[in-house]
Amino acid sequence: MIEGFEFKQCISILKSTGKKAGNLHALRDLIAQVSDDCIFHHTYQYFLKEHILEYTNDFAHWAGESLEERSLAEQLSNIDPYEYDNISDFRKELLSVVGNYIEKFPEPREAMHGDEFFFNETITLIFPIGIRVKNLAEFLMAIKFVDVGSIYYHFYEARMRVGGGIDDFSKWIEESLEKKGLAERIRAIDPFMHNTEDIRKHIAEQTEKELRGDIEIMGVEE
């Protein structure tokens, strides 16, 4: 019997650490001090936000938009947090990138008052949304209308939980539905290059393609 997939969702309650950085020196010093939860929020949870513009984490966004240090913003955006086994190693990489930049440009500009980098952390609440699917057709229906918080939980947050860059969707599709090809196509969707709405579209497209293949009993003869 196929094990069903139960959709869950997470929401985050924001907590302020009260710490803020007005320039890159302060940013570096505080990245070194703040909690793992704080680093997690400003990087991994970036994708829980709606409007992903040019960057892939809050530090890069602030460096690019508020300080107009575009080169640093690009370098910070290029760090893939999922390459690291733990926050500690990831934090070291962030510090190294910011530190190297400061060495080259030792007098970085100050952010405008009110536009400093505010260090926050979150408390995450996870809850089932009352949707359980048993096959791919039901999965397609569900993926099209669940809240983006659910896509985030199963596609982004799962990577830390499941490990190895694997999301909940592809794991279930591979293990329970035994559709390795579709699982691999979903894993090939680059989490960094899309916002959660785009991720939803791509998963739906791939699933639809798979379902079409399943129901077509006759192809055009060559």
């Binding site: 302020s16 009260g18 408390i123 949304i129």
Partner: protein, 403 residues
């Protein structure tokens, strides 16, 4: 009650609300502020308390009473917390405490969770009986006048947690600090859906022509809302695009500064027949709703702002909003996506022209704006967050809570 929001609010928010209600249902939740009417806090509590009660929470709302001296002093505290230099004597602080002591004797402060709104009832924490006590600070205290902050801080630190509206309003205080933005109620008179007939009737009654695009700013006549800057921007636009400017606000009979600003605005408008200055009486929510719906673009060209919820109100009506990049406005407007953030009169004029010349872009932006508000600034999200904070404070030490 909560069912009324089905199909409007995000489903996930409603589901989590139901889960939270299951664990907190039947328990008592007290809100205390200093006024039943007027101001954003009273407006939100009026709407929020019935929702909480509908979820099975024993929610109550109490207000403190005080004399003229008390409210004069708390007005000074309010200004000082936002950075103004104010002199508040020890006698005044004692009076502040004494009024709260009297109120504590009259109000039943026994509850499982208590939220005290703003500085006026702050000292009530000294009369805490039990439960989780949270101070809800609606203003920006990131750069306060130190003496006053220090004096009020003795109360603030006795709370279990503080809630601010925006990260940048907060400061390091050695206490749990949560960030919960305010919200609008999509079912209230100010935000509910209106028929085209009603919108047209309102325009007719208020004498507003609808044959050309309307540029609207709804705000008090206050220099920080830059009404003269708005007129200047409109004049720059008017050279290229025919349009109507509508400035709507309440008459400021009790505020001499407001009356002076209004006169300046009228004088500056200089009988331009296409500038309409509307003085709406208090409780004109439905008219404001109609004005926002008939507008083509809405401005909130503030130079200084609290959260600026009028931005979310206009966005909810599918309007692109051009807002000053101050206070909570940048949290609501993603520049170029859900509206435009501006830093000058010229920028305001340029963005108005851009929208007038690209109505399709205005429509797309307005659609995104509405969706952004739906996901982030509806009252159900704020109730969800308040209940979450209550639950989090009773389950301290966990960064992940699974239901």
């Amino acid at each position: 009650m909560i069912n009324q929001y089905a199909g409007i609010s995000p489903k996930g928010d409603l589901l989590l609300l139901q889960r939270l209600a299951r664990v907190l249902g039947g328990r008592s939740f007290l809100h205390v502020n200093s006024t039943r009417e007027g101001g954003g806090v009273a407006e939100i509590l009026q709407r929020m308390i019935p929702i909480l009660q509908g979820l099975g929470i024993d929610a109550r709302w109490e207000t403190i009473s005080g004399d003229e001296q008390f409210f004069e002093m708390t007005k000074k505290v309010h200004n000082a917390l936002q950075g103004n230099k104010e002199t508040i004597t020890d006698t005044m602080w004692q009076h502040h405490f004494e009024i709260n002591r009297q109120n504590a004797a009259n109000i039943d402060l026994d509850a499982d969770a208590v939220i005290i709104h703003d500085p006026q009832p702050g000292p009530l924490v000294e009369f805490k009986k039990r439960g989780v006590w949270i101070w809800r600070c609606h203003i920006d205290i990131s750069n306060p006048f130190k003496d006053v902050y220090k004096a009020l801080g003795r109360y603030a630190l006795k709370y279990d947690a503080i809630i601010f509206s925006v990260s940048k309003f907060a400061r390091a205080m050695n206490i749990d600090e949560f960030i919960i933005p305010p919200s609008i109620d999509p079912l209230s008179e100010k935000n509910m859906e209106l028929s085209d007939d009603e919108i047209n009737e309102t325009a007719k009654r208020l004498g507003i022509p609808t044959d050309r695009p309307i540029i609207l700013q709804v705000s008090r006549f206050d220099r920080f809302k830059d009404p003269l800057g708005v007129i200047k921007a409109y004049r720059m636009v008017k050279k290229y695009n025919d349009c109507i400017l509508l400035l709507a606000g309440s008459p400021a009979t009790d505020d001499p500064e407001g009356a002076a600003v209004l006169n300046e605005v009228k004088e500056f408008a200089a009988n331009d027949p296409d500038i309409h200055i509307l003085l709406l009486p208090p409780f004109s929510d439905r008219d404001i709703n109609a004005l926002q719906r008939m507008a083509f673009v809405v401005l909130q060209k503030s130079l200084k702002e609290g959260f600026g919820l009028t931005v979310a109100e206009a966005m909810w009506k599918g309007k692109p909003v051009i807002g000053g990049a101050v206070g909570g406005i940048p949290l609501q407007i993603a520049h170029g996506v859900t509206g435009f953030l501006v830093h000058s009169i010229e920028g305001t004029a340029f963005r108005i022209r851009q929208l007038l010349n690209a109505p399709e872009m205005a429509e797309t932006m307005g659609g995104r704006a509405r969706e952004f508000v739906r996901k982030n600034f509806l009252i159900t999200r704020q109730v969800r967050d308040y209940l979450s904070v209550w639950y989090i404070m009773e389950n301290k030490g966990k960064s992940i809570i699974e239901f």
